[in-house]
Amino acid sequence: MKSSSELAVLSQEFRIQIIDMLTEAKSGHPGGSLSMIDLLTGLWFSTMRGVESAKNLAADRDHFILSKGHGVPALYAILAKKGFIDVEELMTLRKTGSRLQGHPDRVRMPIVEASTGSLGQGLSVAQGMAMALKMDGKPGRVFCVLGDGEIQEGQIWESALSAPKFGLSNLCAILDANGGQIDGPVSEVMPLEPLRAKWESFGWHVLEIDGHDFDAIRAAYSEFDRLSAEKGKKPVFIIARTVKGKGVSFMENQIGWHGVVPKIEERDRARGELNTKLSELRKLSSPLKGGN
């Protein structure tokens, strides 16, 4: 179990890899990868069970589905750290012959669990996995990360209705609510609020957090741990308020960076900022070593 400051360091390292991968690939989605990387880091390095490393994958492990498939560079960075992907292989993202497809591909890379990228489908798949785990009495739980623009899809609301009916307290959906989508702010393109009231009224246990505050992220996941252990009836829905492009000053909250990647000089600027912050975070996470 990592501390919040350790998680912050890891996540910052992933941010740099995300920028490098996307620059090399010359296409992809930085905004939504950066907004959710803290949420994913918290999941994979402090919450999910049985996914210690690629070599140490438990049969009764937890499962993860990235429903907002366009953010997959963030997941690839994590999977590389876990040993499912070689770090050098990260640079093959989106290239011909690579298993690092532009959106998750379960057949080429089974650890991504579900092929996604047409939005609105991952929650149904996660629900099905949770149903099977529950009927078999298995301890594994299913986490599913959604984008806020994504939940404009009707299929999401079919699953929102359905998962509580089956009492899936082993299912945790996490909304990366970065407030932006390709055509503009979510609040203008197709307003979603009041989100909490909507999901509560559908029968979910709803938590709302700052999606970049690791103490809050860990507290929310612990709450899910508790609720899933109690084997209650309600699935959990975490509304994580995030910043699109988080960590790179000129990308933050800029819709233009949804699906546009940095040029070399922009990458270098982003790297510079991220590295400066990384040094600060490293000092914070190991105060004894950082003291001199």
Partner: protein
Amino acid sequence: MSKSTRQAFGESLAAWGEKNKQIVVLDADLAKSTKSEIFAKKFPERFFEMGISEANMIGAAAGLSFSGKLPFLCSFGAFITGRYDTIRLSVAYSGANVRLIGTHAGVGIGDDGHSQMGLEDITLMRALPTMGVFQPMDARETELIMDYLVEKWVGPAYVRLTRQNLPDLMAVSAKTGAKWEAGKILKIREAVAGKKKIVAFGSGAGTAEAVKAADLLDAEGSPFSIAVYNVHSLKPFDEAGVIAVSVDAERVITVEDHSVIGGLGSCVAETLAGLDRHPRLVKYGVQDLFGESGEADELYDLHGISAKAIVASLQR
């Protein structure tokens, strides 16, 4: 013995439920119509009523399969294949071991009209890589396909079933000595020796019309006689089998209660077109038209897929 293929499916599914405990069944508020209710009554703990939410049912079935279950999801074919994007990504592209069961195939459902008729479901499913597409001609063949899909097939598969009863054609086929093999065409009836041979390929309800047309033609003393073959596997498609029995025919016809755009007629056309020479092909099926309400036999006449209409057309 005449029985609908949906009824035979429901009975077979319930029988398999006893033997294979990984089978789970999902339905979207049509369990009485798809006959999945037979399974539901026997194994309520393995039956999921998903409500009128087909897309979520399809995605959940994919998830169940990833966790080791063998899901059969059931609804009308029109409603299942209407959620194409979910089938395309969550099932086919994901390699999900899911069985999609689409009932109420074709204009043969009659009264309810176009919105309830699966008319382009084969076309849609056939275009998806890895998707198997199967359509039984009668109750016994439905059981054989079910056995194959439980015991042998790996990956996604779509099965197209009828609301209406169909005659026992496996018994007719048995008289020719033909042996059923999964994925292969099956001889149902020979042409009369010495007459000009028409080779008919039927699938689903179309096969019975082809057989009736063949009987009518012989009874009328036509110089032509029809040999009838059934195609239960639209994908994988038995190209070699189709070619082997077609090459010496005066004419080839296809009979299906489905759009001729992308259905059995297209499968045969695509196969024969690859040959340097091949017989002329006539596709009997729903042309580029919508279905409508009416009596099934009248609709078969209207769309030119009844035995009577086929014979009339052959004599023109």
